[in-house]
């Protein structure tokens, strides 16, 4: 491990960021991704001012209408309606933010707890490590799907927030373990050792020196986890375990599937929620890529053959 001794302290991520003067936040990928997410959020926030969201409920509209640009379509239901008499536009206005909330909430909670506990376990070691690992390992090996189904057969999730909390319950041990192992690796690095020797407070080492170092990985995981949580919720909904009155993307897809939307040729029923999922994912993905570049200036100009 002689390499470590040649490390220039200025190259550690924490200091590197300080040296960047040309406002890194003007990263195009980050901005494009961010705009996509903002637009998605605005769609949900402003939608209710332009469209009657009551139409997202069962029996509020005529059934099985195609979108307005198709034959028999009606401008009163521009994106058509499905067979429970829900207006598709209203369902999307309600459903997109609902799903986004599940994803962000579950991923934030899961990652947050994971980073906190993982760093504590990895950095402090000793009893902290033992207790955290026993709990997280136990949660990790319990088949979460089984528990979720068991819970759901007794408790109805009235809204997607509950669904997110339940998903988060099983989302933290993974990150905990991974962060812990990363911290163990990092602890052996020269600059951390150096910081340790110079009596920097542990918390500062943990969150100022270590966490930024894990940022690319954390950001990527976060994006992945948001999508994962949205899909997890969708999966639970497909098993019939989600909320059933207020639409979410998962519920729309689930109803479309159980009502044979594909074979009935009701493209306007199953495609929009999938496109919405793709758009949300793309937005977060671009943000992640952008974030990486902001955190690691050396990554900029990627794709042009590197530096």
């Amino acid at each position: 491990m002689t390499v470590e001794e040649t490390v220039d302290p200025k190259e550690s991520p924490a200091t590197r960021r300080v040296n960047v003067w040309d406002s890194p936040w003007l990263n195009t990928k980050f901005l494009v991704g961010g705009s996509i997410i903002v637009v998605v959020i605005l769609f949900g926030l402003l939608g209710p001012f332009f469209w009657n969201t009551e139409l997202a409920y069962t029996a509020s509209s005529p059934t099985n209408l195609p979108p307005m640009w198709m034959a028999k379509g009606s401008p009163e239901h521009p994106l058509g309606t499905e067979s429970n008499g829900r207006d598709m536009l209203a369902s999307l206005i309600v459903g997109i933010p609902a799903s986004l909330r599940v994803g962000v909430l579950a991923a934030t909670l899961g990652m947050g707890i994971g980073v906190l506990l993982g760093s504590l376990a990895g950095y402090l070691g000793g009893w902290w490590d033992h207790v955290i690992r026993t709990i997280s390992d136990s949660v990790l090996i319990i088949p979460s799907l089984a528990v979720l189904i068991a819970i759901a057969s007794y408790v109805q999730f009235p809204d997607t927030t509950m669904l997110a909390l339940v998903l988060a319950m099983f989302a933290w041990p993974g990150p905990t373990r991974l962060v812990r192992s990363q911290v163990l690796t990092l602890r052996e690095r020269g600059y951390i050792r150096m910081a340790l020797l110079s009596n920097v407070p542990p918390l500062e080492i943990m969150f100022v020196e270590m966490v930024p170092n894990m940022l690319p990985w954390l950001a990527a995981s976060f994006t992945g986890n948001i999508s994962g949580a949205i899909l997890g919720a969708t999966g639970l909904e497909a098993l019939g375990l989600g909320p059933t009155r207020v639409p979410s993307l998962g519920m729309i897809i689930n109803y479309a599937m159980t009502s044979s939307a594909l074979v009935r040729g009701m493209v306007w029923w199953w495609l929009p929620p999938i496109l919405a999922l793709i758009i949300i994912f793309t937005g977060f993905f671009l943000m992640t890529v952008g974030l990486d570049e902001i955190a690691n200036p050396r990554l900029r100009g990627y794709g042009n053959g590197g530096k």
Binding site: A59, S60, N84
Partner: protein, 611 residues
């Protein structure tokens, strides 16, 4: 890079759209093209059903061509494929043994309300309905050649009487005093108390099933009938008397082949069925089932949604259903109701229960939850022709009140009860009027709940829906519910008693299971009603007293409303004319059109090869 990424994302979407369009382009009917997966290898010499005097080894029929094969859709997974013991719950006899491998004694046809004899020749009672005499047709044999006699019947019922977890143990113990063999083809049942329904209820395929019989000569040698699976292809198990023999089981299918030696044909009772091979097949979700149907992968299917059926019919015009046009569907024998827990405030007040009924827009439930495939008939039993004379006993004004919502009446009741309407909801003493609707994991009942919930919300009752799986039934039994969307008044199809008896007795205490006949799970109690129904149970169907009592009982029931009739259930059972014709439809109603009931044997022996 961004532009390229965008380009690729667009391409990706194009792929998705392509798959969306793919189905649009496949809309051209492909009726003549059988899908690859279901194409059986061509038999070198397809044996013709009618001109096959020489009896073939049934296993050869495994290679029967598609046009000699009948393929039946089963939308449920084949679970526990080796459990063919008909007396154990969750057995798989519904995968063909009940309908093709065995012969019922007789079958009730809803079309004309008649009991049609099958392996029974006669099944009559004395005047008091306490002694029933059964005479079998001559020449019935098990498929291994051994004669089928009343000994087998006595053995089969005795087995259930001796083992409390087998079959209809408790029913037989309650009713049968003793059984007596007269000769091989004749026997008598001596009942403990009169029962006019004894034959049809147990042996007449009244709803879905009837008592299945097992071969005494095999089962006698079985060590433990409780754990016997009745499955051993080497030994010819499951063994039945029917025209088909189980030839093969895969993970998702059972395959039956015709037994040319079937007693029915040998005795001239009925011609041999024309399909040489019958397949019960599970292919997955409704999307896949429908597309398989479009490709002629099925000859008949179980219940499906209207949209899927219309999509199928549009792409393959050989598909028909019970009615040639909307509503297409045949009415299911179990009407859908909303059970109200009549012990739980505020629904312990019959006027409050009527509020729930007055808010209900049944036409909207038909239009949305059933997509218009059922009829308006707010009864606790099915709107069958055979039930009409009993339905006519219900007070006309009451029925009319249920045909449309009466929000003003509901409002007046609530005001009289001290409720005031707030911004959104009715309140009393500062408390919102709420209602929890429990639904089981069953899409049809759930959709009824969905539509009704919105109606309640609009009216100002804060209704919520809770979907429960196994807990649903326990909640009903233990009284842990306000209202449930269910079918628990099911029973009657040709006379009124079976449905009426669901409400008899005292209200079962909360946290205690109802005891049939003594307490009920609706938590409702009316002594006069119980008395009336007890009397109806002993009367013959043509007794004028029965009409009189029924009228009074119905008046009490509809006045008190321990449950609210919600909708007539329906089953859309598609039939495919491509390979087989002569299916039971409204114009040709020779048998109840259910391909998963024990009576399907009648249909299979009736259909003929399409020209």
């Amino acid at each position: 890079m961004r532009s390229l990424y965008r380009l690729i994302a667009v391409l990706m979407l194009a792929t998705l759209l392509l798959s969306a369009c793919a189905q649009a382009t496949t809309q051209a009917p492909k009726a003549t093209e059988a899908p690859k997966a279901t194409e059986a290898p061509k038999a070198t010499e397809a044996p013709k059903a009618t001109e096959a005097p020489a009896v073939k080894d049934p296993k050869e029929y495994l290679n029967a061509a598609r046009e000699d094969t009948l393929i039946i859709d089963n939308p449920y997974r084949l679970e526990g494929k080796d459990n063919w013991n008909p007396y154990i719950p969750n057995n798989v006899t519904g995968w063909g043994l009940n309908a093709l491998g065995q012969d019922p004694l007789m079958m009730l046809n809803y079309g004309d309300g008649q009991l049609k004899m099958w392996s029974a020749d006669k099944f009559d009672s004395d005047a008091e309905a306490k002694v029933w005499t059964l005479t079998l047709k001559k020449g019935i044999t098990w498929n291994d050649g051994v004669a089928f006699t009343v000994d087998d019947i006595i053995y089969s019922i005795d087995l259930q009487i001796k083992n409390e977890t087998l079959g209809s143990h408790f029913y037989f113990v309650e009713w049968i005093d003793k059984m007596e063999k007269v000769d091989d083809g004749t026997m008598k049942f001596y009942l403990k108390k009169p029962n006019v329904r004894f034959a049809v209820e147990n042996f007449g395929v009244q709803i879905a099933g009837s008592t299945q019989f097992v071969p005494k000569h095999i089962w006698e040698t079985v060590a433990d009938p409780l754990t016997f699976k009745n499955y051993d292809p080497e030994k010819g198990l499951p063994l039945g008397t029917g025209p088909y023999i189980l030839a093969k089981i895969t993970e998702n299918e059972t395959i039956w082949v015709r037994n040319d030696k079937w007693w029915g044909a040998a005795t001239g009772f009925r011609k041999l069925p024309e399909p040489l091979k019958v397949i019960y097949s599970y292919v997955g979700t409704e999307e896949v089932r429908t597309q398989t149907g479009i490709d002629n992968g099925f000859d008949t299917m179980q219940d499906m949604t209207l949209g899927a059926f219309e999509a199928m019919k549009a792409q393959n015009d050989k598909w028909i259903a019970f009615y040639p046009d909307k509503p297409y569907a045949w009415l299911d024998p179990c009407a859908r109701i909303i059970s109200v827990n009549s012990s739980a405030a505020p629904w312990d007040d019959k006027e409050m229960r009527w509020v729930l009924s007055d808010v209900m827009d049944r036409q909207q439930i038909i239009d949305i939850a059933y997509e218009g495939t059922t009829v308006m008939a707010p009864y606790f039993w099915p709107a069958y022709p055979s039930m009409q004379k009993y339905a006519d006993l219900i007070d006309k004004a009451t029925i009319d009140r249920m045909l449309k919502p009466n929000l003003d009446k509901a409002e007046a009741t609530l005001k009289a009860k001290g409720y005031t309407k707030g911004d959104k909801y009715w309140t009393k003493d500062g408390k919102e009027l709420t209602l929890e609707i429990q639904v089981p994991e069953y899409i049809e009942l759930e959709r009824i709940g969905d539509v009704w919930l919105e109606q309640l919300q609009k009216f100002g009752i804060n209704a919520t829906k809770v979907r429960l799986e196994s807990a649903f039934y326990d909640n009903f039994n233990f009284g842990h519910y306000e209202v449930q969307s269910n079918w628990f008044a099911c029973g009657s199809v040709a006379e009124p008693w079976l449905t009426l008896r669901n409400f008899v007795g005292k209200a079962a205490p909360i946290d205690e299971r109802p005891q049939s006949g003594i307490t009920n799970g609706f938590r409702w109690s009316n002594d006069r009603y119980t008395e009336l129904v007890a009397e109806i149970g002993t009367l013959k169907w043509d007794d004028p007293k029965l009409m009189e009592d029924t009228k009074e009982a119905l008046k009490i029931l509809y006045d008190e409303l321990p449950a609210i009739p919600a909708a007539q259930a329906r089953k859309l059972v598609p039939f495919n004319d491509t390979y087989w014709t002569g299916w039971p439809t409204n114009d040709n109603y020779y048998m109840t059109p259910t391909n998963w009931w024990n009576n399907f044997i009648w249909t299979v022996t009736t259909i003929t090869k399409a020209k």
